[in-house]
Structures are given as C-alpha cells and as structure tokens.
Symmetry: C2
Subunit: 149 residues, 2 copies
C-alpha cells in the first residue's frame, strides 16, 4: 500500500522508510535523564522485535546481523517509548539501561563522550575533550577481539 506524503507525515499508520540497505537510523536516549546514549540502525526485523519484546534490537552494519542489545555485554536496553520522525526514516527509543548502564562498546555510558571545540576549524581540532564519562566495564574482557557494533 503506497503512502502519500501527507499520510506519511500527518497520518497514524506506521510506514517506515527503510533505505537502500533496508535500514532506518535509531537514536537511543536515556528515558530518565534525556542523555543520548548511542546511534544505531534497525532493519524491519529489529524494529518488529523491539516493538514486540520491549527490548532494543538493532542491525549491525559491520557484522550484517540482527543484534539484541546486550546479548554479549549484558548492557540491555528496556524500551519505555518508541517514536518515529516526520518522514518515517528515523526512530527514537527511550530506554532504561540494564547491566552497568554502559551503552557504548567502549564501556562508557554514552557513545558521545567527546566534545568538538566550538570556534575551531576542523584542521585545528586536535583537542577533542573527554566529558568524564569513564568506562564501566573492560571491553577486552567482555568482547575479546570483536564487539557488538
């Protein structure tokens, strides 16, 4: 069933616009604090499983595989709300972290643990600053040579 531009943006029917690789982009946000935890991707199966189970599932572009968040690391994400954006090619999950609360494969709470200096040119930006989000687990001990991303 085709969806008109108006229905896509103003309607109540879920009609995700998966890209050529079959994916939509997904933001995971801490439901309590509002902190952005990570950016990932979902194929149709990952979205369906997330909706059905209330546990975040993604699709790994590097491993080309469906992935339940935390299946290796124990850092699960319990989903309290799912949103979709205006043109239905991006999804937002509001989640409660399980495990030690580390969404990032580096062991940190959030993948966004460095700031880019404002006012600098990119070529001058040799000083990314760490936010103080320290690792909560040892990635080598958890993943060995591979990781979930």
């Amino acid at each position: 069933m085709a969806t008109s531009h108006h229905d896509l943006e103003e309607g109540t029917r879920l009609a995700p616009r998966f890209d050529a690789a079959g994916l939509v982009t997904c933001i995971a946000q801490d439901a309590q604090t509002g902190e952005i935890l990570m950016l990932a991707h979902m194929n149709a199966d990952a979205l369906a499983l997330t909706m059905a189970t209330g546990e975040a599932h993604y699709f790994s572009r590097s491993r080309k595989a469906l992935w339940k968040k935390g299946e290796t690391s124990g850092q699960t994400q319990k989903v309290s709300e799912i949103r979709i954006d205006c043109d239905q090619d991006a999804v937002l999950l509001k989640v409660e972290m399980g495990g030690t609360g580390a969404a990032c494969h580096t062991g940190r709470r959030s993948c966004f643990y460095r700031t880019i200096p404002l006012g600098a040119a990119p070529s001058d930006a040799t000083a990314l600053a760490f936010t103080g989000d320290e690792p909560r687990f040892d990635p080598k001990a958890v993943y060995g040579g591979s990781h979930e991303h």
Copy 2:
C-alpha cells in the same frame, strides 16, 4: 593521515568518518530540555561551518545542498556544544532554537511527534499516537511547495 582504530575511539583528534555520500549523521537536541529535535546529515562543509559559526548547518540529501538551519523558516539553531561518537560517524548538537522554537519542517517543535505502540506487530501498528506537539507555524506559508529537509 590515517587514524588507527584506537586513536579514532580513544584519541583527541577530530577524524570524522564520512560515508560514501560524504555525510555523517547528526542529532539535534534541545540544550535546556534534552528533547530530541531532529535527525539530519552533515558533509564536511556543514560541520566546518557549524564549528566556526556556532549556528547549525546541515546537508540536504534531497536537495543535495548545504543548508543553514532556519535560512528559509527563521527556525535557527544556536549551538552550545558539539559532540562526536565513539567511531566518529555521528555528531550530536546541543542547541537553542530561534524563531518560534519549531525544529521540524511540519512546524512542530520536534520531528519525533508520534509514538509507535509498544507490544504491537508492525502490521498492526495502525495507531501511531500524536504526542501533542502542535505546529508553531504554517509550513505552506513558510515554504510554499518546498521545504528545508
């Protein structure tokens, strides 16, 4: 200069990993409330201009053009902080909205103005629910037949 996997994730050098189309994904988040406003893309020029000016610039995939947020609508975004993620292919902007505070081209505060019901199968999801984020401007009056995305 090549960047090792370790330096990419644990270093202080900005080395954005633009995709085949020359883009990174960018989340815009309200700096005060933590609300996710929109998801967009940046090419190298958009990132450089955002860093240099402190005003959000993006790259429109549909119009294939660099775009200063608010150049048509007046809904500008003043950037208070820029972050980059672990593998440097996603950027987070913390912003203060100008204009009437409507980041979305539909006139709403956020592009994520509909929720997907939890517990439903995608084929049953005929009931996206609106969050109550009402339009703050009339898109037709602002954009005519086109819009910024």
